[in-house]
Amino acid sequence: MPITVKFFAAMKEQTGKDEERLPIGSMATVADVWKAATGQQEMPEHTLCARNMEYVQPDEAVTDGDEIAFFPLVTGGAL
C-alpha cells in the first residue's frame, strides 16, 4: 500500500500540492516523506506533522499505508 501525503492551508499553496500517494520505497520517517513529496525541499520551520491523524515529530517512523499530513500552526475558530 502506498503512503498518502496531504498538505493543508498555506503549506498547500507553498508546495503546490494537495494530496498524493507515494510508494514507501526507502522512506523511513515523516521527514523522509516530506522530502520525497516536495522534491527534497527543506521542511519550513514550525511545520506541523501528523501520522494517521495524530500529531507527531518529523523523526516519527512511517509504515506502508500511513496517512501523513503537513500543515502550518493551527489558527482555531473565532475571537
Binding site: K6, F8, A9, A10, A50, M53, Y55, A69, F71, P72, L73, V74, T75, G76, G77, A78, L79
Partner: protein
C-alpha cells in the same frame, strides 16, 4: 457528548436549546455554560470581508472528540456539545459553540473555557481572511485575552 462540523451557517442558541431538550437530565444539571465564537469584521487592524476556514477532515473530528473526552475526565460533566463551522464564513456568523452541562457552576465554567482553549490550540483549523488587500492566511492562533 456531541461533536459537529457545520458546512452551513447555524443558529448557535437554537442548537444549544435543541440539544438540551434531548438531554434526559432535567433537574440534574444546575449549570450550563456556553461559549459562542462569532466572526468579527475586524482583525489585526484590517476590515475583514469574509473568511475561509480550512480543516483536516477526519483529524478535526477526532481531535474535537478527544478534547471533549479530556474535559469529561477532568470534571464531573453531564454533557458536552461542540459545533464548529468550516468553509466560507461571513462576519457575524457563528464559528464555534462549546457547551457544558453539569451539577454546579464551577465545573461548567472551567470545562467550557478548557474546551475553547484546547480547541484553538490543538484542532486542525486554518483561517484565510479576505481583506481589501486580498486574501491572507492568519499566521497563528491568538492568545487568550
Amino acid at each position: 457528548m456531541k461533536i459537529m462540523l457545520a458546512e452551513q451557517p447555524f443558529e448557535p442558541w437554537q442548537l444549544v436549546a435543541e440539544h438540551q431538550r434531548l438531554l434526559d437530565a432535567g433537574g440534574q444539571y444546575g449549570a450550563a455554560t456556553v461559549f459562542v465564537g462569532s466572526m468579527r469584521d475586524f482583525n489585526l487592524g484590517d476590515q475583514v470581508q469574509s473568511m475561509f476556514l480550512e480543516h483536516y477532515p477526519g483529524m478535526t473530528e477526532r481531535h474535537l472528540e478527544k478534547i471533549a473526552q479530556q474535559a469529561e475526565q477532568q470534571w464531573p460533566l453531564l454533557e458536552v456539545l461542540i459545533c464548529h463551522r468550516v468553509g466560507q464564513i461571513n462576519p457575524a456568523d457563528a464559528i464555534v459553540v462549546t457547551a457544558v452541562w453539569s451539577a454546579h457552576r464551577g465545573e461548567a465554567f472551567e470545562a467550557c473555557r478548557y474546551l475553547i482553549e484546547e480547541l484553538k490550540h490543538r484542532a486542525p483549523f486554518w483561517k484565510k481572511e479576505q481583506t481589501a488587500d486580498g486574501p491572507r492566511w492568519v499566521a497563528e492562533n491568538t492568545p487568550a485575552e
